[in-house]
């Protein structure tokens, strides 16, 4: 759902309306996003495909940290293609050699 544009336009910019202003006809969200759809009776149906869920994997035995030692210099990859890492032909060739056979 989008906020009511009419009341956020040119002449109303100085008013800086909040969600509590204006009786009806003005909607302003809070940035949490749409989780479903409204019914014509005034209700709301939650669409679970829209609801965000967090999949946290098990961190048992995981040794990587957010940091890399400063002694390890950053290296830039060497790619033969002009597209470099975005090259689909290189990706496909790599797939064929590594993952082609089940």
């Amino acid at each position: 759902m989008q906020p009511t544009r009419v009341l956020q336009g040119l002449r109303y910019r100085k008013l800086r309306l909040t969600t509590k202003d204006v009786n009806k006809g003005f909607y302003k969200g809070t940035g949490t996003g749409s989780m479903g759809r409204h019914t014509n009776k005034g209700g709301y149906i939650i669409e679970w495909s829209k609801v965000r869920t967090y999949v946290v994997p098990s961190l048992e035995g995981f040794k990587l940290t957010p940091f890399v030692s400063k002694n390890v210099r950053k290296l830039y990859g060497h790619y033969d293609d002009a597209e470099g890492p975005r090259s689909p032909s290189a990706y496909l060739a790599r797939w064929k050699s590594e993952n082609g056979f089940d």
């Binding site: 940091f67 950053k74 290296l75 990859g77 975005r86 064929k96």
Partner: protein, 284 residues
């Protein structure tokens, strides 16, 4: 006066009694003159004339305090019932906490609430995108959540430092946070890039004669040249692993020459030497 008239002893009445007794003892029939004080019966009645102003204490609960434990002003019907006494704070049993609770991960350890700036400053640099490109989905997924937890820990520390006015530490924590954000940005970049490349490669694969995407049960990849040299390739890979990649360029050239005969030479030599070089750079 705090005590109400109801339970105040009637001093006027007592004095009157005393006066009466003295009168009985006295020989002379003369009346003993006593000065009238405020609680003399006559003076107590001074506000009882018609039209007298209202003098009573309108606040019936004046002085009662639950916090100060004063009790009630009058005895109640339940005043004699035994009430439980509150346990003093030092005698309370210690709060039981779960040592494995997930919320403990918001803190550096069980004792500290915010890390010391010296400890926060001990960090490396964030992962570069080239380093992250080598990682699998599982590794990147777990690394993301490690970064999330680190940022949560830093944010909790910052909150506590401000709340309790613990002092310095914001600058070091901010720098650490910046490096973590660099890693997280890199992870997002790599995954987006992989998605786009995969989509483009899929489009390319539709036109590839070696790849069958119809889903009719036949293998997806049917190479035009059969890999008799696959065993040779595997042997050379094992040799390299055993020797530990001591010779750099020479080995990779050998590997690439082996591979050239098996699959499309032009495309894979570059990527395999790339992989070999990449493996070398990793220091494996």
């Amino acid at each position: 006066m705090a005590t109400p008239a109801a339970i105040r002893p009637s001093l006027g009445a007592a004095l009157h009694h005393v006066c009466g007794s003295t009168r009985r003892i006295a020989v002379t029939p003369s009346v003993v003159q006593t000065a009238a004080i405020s609680t003399t019966a006559s003076l107590l009645k001074r506000h009882k004339y018609p039209g007298a102003r209202d003098n009573r204490d309108h606040s019936k609960h004046r002085g009662e305090s639950a916090i100060r434990r004063t009790g009630t002003r009058w005895r109640l019907s339940v005043s004699d019932e035994p009430l439980p006494k509150p346990v003093p704070l030092k005698d309370l049993p210690p709060v039981e906490t779960d040592p494995d609770h997930g919320l403990w991960e918001f803190f550096p350890d069980r004792v500290t609430v915010a890390a010391v700036p010296e400890e926060d400053a001990k960090h490396g640099r964030g992962w570069s995108v080239e380093e992250l490109r080598k990682k699998s989905w599982d590794d990147l997924h777990r690394l993301w959540w490690v970064c999330c937890k680190e940022r949560n820990r830093l944010a909790t520390g910052e909150w506590e430092r401000r709340k309790q006015k613990l002092g310095y530490g914001e600058a070091e924590a901010a720098k650490r946070d910046d490096e973590v954000k660099v890693t997280m940005r890199g992870i997002k970049h790599v995954l987006t890039e992989r998605q786009y490349v995969w989509e483009d490669a899929l489009k390319l694969a539709e036109d590839d004669p070696e790849i069958n995407l119809s889903g009719d049960g036949n293998p997806v990849f049917a190479p035009s040249e059969f890999l008799e040299e696959v065993e040779e390739l595997e042997e050379t890979v094992e040799e390299m692993q055993r020797e530990g990649f001591k010779e750099g360029a020479g080995e990779t050239k050998q590997l690439s020459s082996n591979v050239a005969g098996s699959v499309d030479a032009a495309e894979t030599t570059s990527t395999n030497s790339d992989q070999g070089a990449a493996r070398l750079r990793q220091g494996v």
